[in-house]
Structures are given as structure tokens and as C-alpha cells.
């Protein structure tokens, strides 16, 4: 009975209800879109650290977990290597450079220096991984390959400002890894010695002569021993701090602020959605007071009236979610892969579930109101 009443009313007023579904569809699109933007921007920031083949990342203690401020010498590398529970260590250095794309076109990328075969070195999905410790070779990650069109075997030129002069270095692509952006830039991975040679540098270098890295990636014998090994590293190696990967990327400059901003936007969209749905059904309920009163007077139970309202809210919301889903799919197909918007199944599902929940939540007030309708008053008896 409730389903019959709900569907008949929906069908005979389909224009009005479709408009609400359309609004819910737009809200769904917005929720998923903001989620995809958060995912895309977040991935652009954290991708490399998130996929790192090491469980701990060691910083200079005074760097406040800011990779750019952290400097660790070779001595720390060997000290950490000796800590019980550590299987392997890999120094990692980061800098930002431009690559020349022909004509005046340039692309800023993250140049990441790693030790071939050690934690921090990326796997190659096509081509081969870094092997030589000092060659002019690079493994580039997926987004860089997409944005530049570089393939295995191609060469590209890096412009690096050293002192007051621009220096140009040509590297050969030997492999392409999965997406491993860092600091919202496509990334190229080179041997640490090569990185040290071509990195942009100021006029005066603090540690001239010594090969330093920003951080050290640590691969553990047993990944479950994260806490004890972290503790041992911090106790046995002076002036260092070790954190897991999540803590590392959450402390990437701007990452948390960016994510919380986008999450706040998403939350507000959900609140607005709740109010829109709630408002519509509330107005609808107010318009239907005489009808509800009549239904109650002829013996329709409160349960039937409430269930009919819930069915309507669910159907309208579901239709809205379907409309939103189709819109998102169309958007996804129309966006080039270089735009930092990533529609993941989980994020889309979270958006859809949220919208499906806000429908009934928004409608609670109207259902409550409908249940309180007094037949005598509603019918003016």
C-alpha cells in the first residue's frame, strides 16, 4: 500500500519530482566532483610517498617533518642500516626543475634522486628500472609520460639553474612507472649522483662535497614492527625522527590544509543537499495536509503514510544519484588524464552513500510533520 501510494503520486507528478531529482543529481555530481578533486590533488601530493617501498621515512629532527628542510648525510644512512629490524635503506632527494618540450613550452617536474635498487627507487611498468648509480638515465612516472608524450628510449632536456646560470642536461627515459607524482608535479627519478649533479643549487652550498639526501626510506624486515623499529632508530641514531608514510605525506606542505578545505566543501555540499531535500519534502507535506488528514480519516495508518513518504524520498534521491552518476561519468570521459581530478570507485561510492543518507535525513522533519497531522483539523471538521 505505501509503495502504491508513493509511486502513483510520483508518476502523476513526475515533472515536479523530476526537478528535485535533477537538483539532487547536480548535488551528487558536485559531491563526487569535489571528492575527485580532493583525491586528484591529494594523489598529486602524496602519490610517491604513499607508494614508497619502505615503511618508515627518516627526517632530520630539526626539519619539522618538512622534506625540503631536511638534510641527512651518508653517515646517517649507514647508522640506520645497522639498527636491528631494518632490512634496507635508501636516500631520497627532491628538487623542482623544468623540462623543455620544444618551442617555448616547459613543464615543471619534481626531480627525485634515488639509489637504484634501494627503497625509494620506483618500479618500471615498461622499460627497465634504474641500475647505474651515476648515468644520465631516468625512470619517469605515468603522468609525466602522459603530459610529455615521452616513451622508453626517448631523451628529454632538463633546465636547471645553478648559481646564476641555466644549465641544460639531457636524460634518456629507460622506464615508465605507475603514477608517482610528488608535490603536485609529474616526477622523474634519477640516480642520486646524477640528481646531485644536475639539481638546481644556490650560489653557496652548505654541504659542498658531501652527498646528502632529504630523507631516507627504510624497508623493515617485518613491516609489523613499525613502532619498535621507529623507536630504535630514534634512540640509536642522533638527530633524526622516523615516521610512517601516512604521517610523511600528511606533513607535505599544504597537503592537510588542502584536503581539509576540500573536505569542508564536500561537507557543506552535503548539508546544502540535506536542506534542499528537506525543504522540498517539507513544502510538499505542508501542501498535502488536507490530503493526509483525509487519508487518516478514512483509516490509513501512520505507518502507511510514513512509509509512503520514505519510499518517495528514496526513489527521488535514487533517481537523482543516477542522474548525478551519469553526469560524473560524462565528466570523467571528457577530462584529459593530466587534470588532477581522479574519480575513484571508493570516493564515488562514498558520495553516493552520503547522498542516499541525506535524502531520508532531510525528509525526517516532513515525515514527522505528516504523522502529526490531525484529521479533524486538516479537514476543518
Amino acid at each position: 500500500m505505501p509503495i502504491y501510494l508513493a509511486l502513483k503520486e510520483l508518476w502523476r507528478n513526475k515533472g515536479r519530482f523530476f526537478l528535485v531529482s535533477l537538483v539532487i543529481g547536480l548535488i551528487t555530481t558536485l559531491v563526487i566532483f569535489v571528492g575527485a578533486l580532493a583525491e586528484g590533488l591529494g594523489a598529486g601530493n602524496r602519490e610517491y610517498l604513499q607508494k614508497l617501498n619502505g615503511e618508515l621515512i627518516v627526517y632530520n629532527k630539526n626539519a619539522d617533518l618538512l622534506i625540503g628542510f631536511s638534510r641527512l648525510g651518508r653517515d646517517k644512512l649507514s647508522e640506520i642500516q645497522r639498527v636491528p629490524g631494518v632490512e634496507d635503506v635508501g636516500p631520497i632527494s627532491f628538487s623542482s626543475v623544468s623540462i623543455l618540450l620544444g618551442g617555448d613550452k616547459r613543464l615543471n617536474i619534481s626531480l627525485v634522486g634515488v639509489e637504484p635498487g634501494r627503497p625509494g627507487a620506483p618500479p618500471a611498468l615498461t622499460g627497465q628500472e634504474l641500475k647505474s648509480r651515476s648515468s644520465r638515465e631516468a625512470v619517469i612516472e605515468r603522468s609525466m609520460a602522459l603530459r610529455t608524450g615521452l616513451k622508453v628510449g626517448d631523451k628529454f632536456t632538463i633546465k636547471s639553474t645553478q648559481g646564476t646560470k641555466d644549465q641544460f642536461y639531457t636524460l634518456q627515459v629507460i622506464g615508465i612507472s605507475d603514477g608517482r607524482q610528488y608535490s603536485l608535479q609529474p616526477a622523474a627519478f634519477v640516480p642520486l649522483l646524477t640528481w646531485d649533479e644536475i639539481k638546481p643549487s644556490p650560489i653557496v652550498e652548505d654541504n659542498k662535497g658531501e652527498l646528502t639526501s632529504n630523507v631516507i626510506a627504510v624497508h623493515l624486515d617485518n613491516p609489523n614492527d613499525l613502532k619498535p623499529v621507529k623507536q630504535r632508530i630514534e634512540e640509536q641514531v642522533a638527530e633524526v625522527v622516523a615516521v610512517d608514510r601516512v604521517t610523511a605525506y600528511q606533513n607535505t606542505p599544504g597537503y592537510s590544509a588542502q584536503q581539509s578545505t576540500l573536505n569542508t566543501q564536500g561537507t557543506f555540499v552535503l548539508i546544502i543537499g540535506t536542506l534542499v531535500i528537506g525543504g522540498f519534502f517539507q513544502i510538499q507535506t505542508l501542501q498535502k495536509v488536507p490530503q493526509t488528514g483525509m487519508l487518516k480519516a478514512i483509516g490509513t495508518s501512520n505507518a502507511t503514510i510514513a512509509l509512503a513518504a520514505i519510499v518517495q524520498i528514496v526513489v527521488v534521491t535514487l533517481l537523482g544519484v543516477v542522474i548525478g552518476g551519469v553526469a560524473v561519468l560524462a565528466l570523467k570521459l571528457s577530462f584529459p588524464p593530466t587534470i588532477p581530478i581522479v574519480f575513484t570507485g571508493n570516493a564515488a561510492l562514498a558520495g553516493i552513500v552520503s547522498i542516499m543518507l541525506i535524502g531520508p535525513i532531510g525528509g525526517i522533519v516532513s515525515i514527522r510533520y505528516a504523522l502529526r497531522v490531525e484529521p479533524l483539523k486538516a479537514l476543518g471538521l
Binding site: 500500500m1 502504491y4 501510494l5 502513483k8 503520486e9 508518476w11 502523476r12 507528478n13 488536507p290 490530503q291 488528514g293 483525509m294 487519508l295 487518516k296 480519516a297 478514512i298 483509516g299 490509513t300 495508518s301 501512520n302 502507511t304 484529521p375 479533524l376 486538516a378 479537514l379 476543518g380 471538521l381
Partner: protein
């Protein structure tokens, strides 16, 4: 004939500040199966309050209401809702129909609510609507029907589930005189034919033409009960209400030219 509805010393009082309003006082009536009763009286006389109590929409402050021997006052809200659904048919002054259901679906609604809609029920709904002259309006939504047609659909809905009691609150209030007269005539004939206990609240004495009994209320009290058909006809005929007389309506309905509308009846007190 068996007594279907019985009230015993029914009262309804409201407290308004320090004063007590006695809307219905000590009303004891009974209605038999197949009897059509007109409940009349001026505004504020308590007739609608009494009707609401008979329908189980309002609890009496005192006294008993029995329908088919079942005491309404002892029921819970849910039980009364169910009782209304199963045993009572109801038509109202306005907002009678579900706006998004067709005429036929509105009638079938009572069978659906009672879980009794089957092929036979659907056929009965159609037959009833045809009988009420709505054969070409079965698929029309209420907004596509005139006021009189809507009232006839409401009458069909009030009768379709074979209720013991059929209550009508001012069913003719929003209709023109001719349509009102037709609606009451149909309503009364169906009550008689189907052996229901029918009660109609009206302030228009002309509409009592087909009533078997007239109960007149004043200030919450039953002041007069008229059983004599000829006396009821005389009251209806001489009713002091603005509009055409019974004769004029009957003349008009039989296809003759309507008599002068300026001729007004003179009424008994």
C-alpha cells in the same frame, strides 16, 4: 432492522480557559441498518462534533458509542484507525479524494487499504461508479471532475468496502443546489439498497428530503427527532434557505424550465 450504531449519553466538553464548552451533551441515538438519518442544526450546534465522535476521530468526554456492538471508546488509536478503515465509510465537505488517483483508483483505495482488492472488487468499484453516472470518468483525476462528480466518487468510496456505517459531513456544501440534490438522492438510495446505517450532517434542510429520520441539534443537545416522513418532507419543502425550493429543483431535474428563482419558501421555526 438491526441496530448498527448506538450512542448512550455521549458528551463532549472542551476547556477554554476557565470556561467549559459543552459541544455535545447527553446524546443518545441509535441508527438501524438501511436507515438514512439527517443530522441537522445551525453552526455550532454540535452536529459535526458528534459525527467526528461517531467516526472515531474524536474521543467522547463521556458516554458510549457502539458500532456493531463494539465500543469505540475502549479502543486504542491504532484500533480505531483500523475500525474506521473496515467498518466506516466517510465523505467530507471538501478534499474528499486523493488528487493523484483516478476516480476508479480512489474508489478502489478503500479495498486496497483493507487488503481486499481483487478482480471482483475492481468490478464492483466500476459498477458502483457506472451506477453513479460516472462511466465516462473512471480514468479521470479529481481535478478533471466537477464538484458533484467528485462527491459521487467519494460516495462510491465510502460504500465500496461494505462498511456498517456511512458518515457524510456536509456532502453538498460546495455544490450547486441541483447537483446537491442529486448527490443526496443517490446517497440515500444506496444506503437503503445496501442496508447501511447512514448519517448525513447538513445545515440545508432541503437536503433532508430523502431522510428516514431527522435529528435536530441545538447547543450540543438533541432538541428534536422527527420520524414521520411526511413531516420531514414538509420541512424540506418549506426550508428557509436561500436558493431554489425542492419543487424548483425537481422541476429543473425533470427537464422542465426552472421556475422563477425569486420565489422563496417560507420556513417553519
Amino acid at each position: 432492522m438491526a441496530t448498527v450504531l448506538e450512542t448512550k449519553s455521549v458528551n463532549k466538553t472542551y476547556e477554554l480557559g476557565t470556561s467549559i464548552i459543552r459541544a455535545v451533551q447527553d446524546v443518545s441515538v441509535s441508527v438501524q441498518a438501511g436507515e438514512f438519518v439527517a443530522l441537522v442544526g445551525p453552526s455550532g450546534s454540535g452536529k459535526t462534533t458528534l459525527l467526528a465522535m461517531l467516526a472515531g476521530l474524536l474521543k467522547p468526554s463521556g458516554g458510549n458509542i457502539l458500532i456493531d456492538g463494539t465500543e469505540l471508546g475502549k479502543m486504542s488509536d491504532a484500533e480505531r484507525t483500523r475500525f474506521r478503515r473496515e467498518r466506516i465509510g466517510f465523505t467530507f465537505q471538501a478534499n474528499n479524494l486523493v488528487p493523484f488517483l483516478t476516480a476508479r483508483e480512489n474508489v478502489e483505495l478503500m479495498l486496497r487499504l483493507n487488503g481486499r482488492l481483487n478482480r471482483e472488487g475492481k468490478e464492483r468499484a466500476q459498477e458502483l461508479l457506472v451506477r453513479l453516472g460516472l462511466s465516462d470518468r473512471l480514468r479521470n483525476l479529481p481535478r478533471q471532475l466537477s464538484g458533484g462528480q467528485q462527491q459521487r466518487v467519494a460516495i462510491a468510496r465510502a460504500l465500496i468496502h461494505n462498511p456498517s456505517v456511512v458518515l457524510a459531513d456536509e456532502p453538498t456544501a460546495s455544490l450547486d443546489t441541483e447537483r446537491a440534490f442529486q448527490v443526496v438522492e443517490t446517497f440515500a438510495s444506496l444506503i437503503h439498497e445496501q442496508k447501511r446505517a447512514g448519517i448525513m450532517v447538513t445545515h440545508d434542510l432541503r437536503m433532508c428530503q430523502h431522510a428516514d429520520r431527522m435529528i435536530q441539534m441545538m447547543d450540543g443537545l438533541v432538541v428534536r427527532v422527527i420520524k414521520d416522513k411526511s413531516e420531514i418532507h414538509e420541512i424540506a419543502r418549506t426550508s428557509k434557505i436561500e436558493g431554489p425550493t425542492i419543487q424548483e429543483i425537481q422541476t429543473s431535474l425533470s427537464g422542465r424550465k426552472s421556475a422563477s428563482m425569486s420565489q422563496r419558501s417560507t420556513m417553519p421555526a
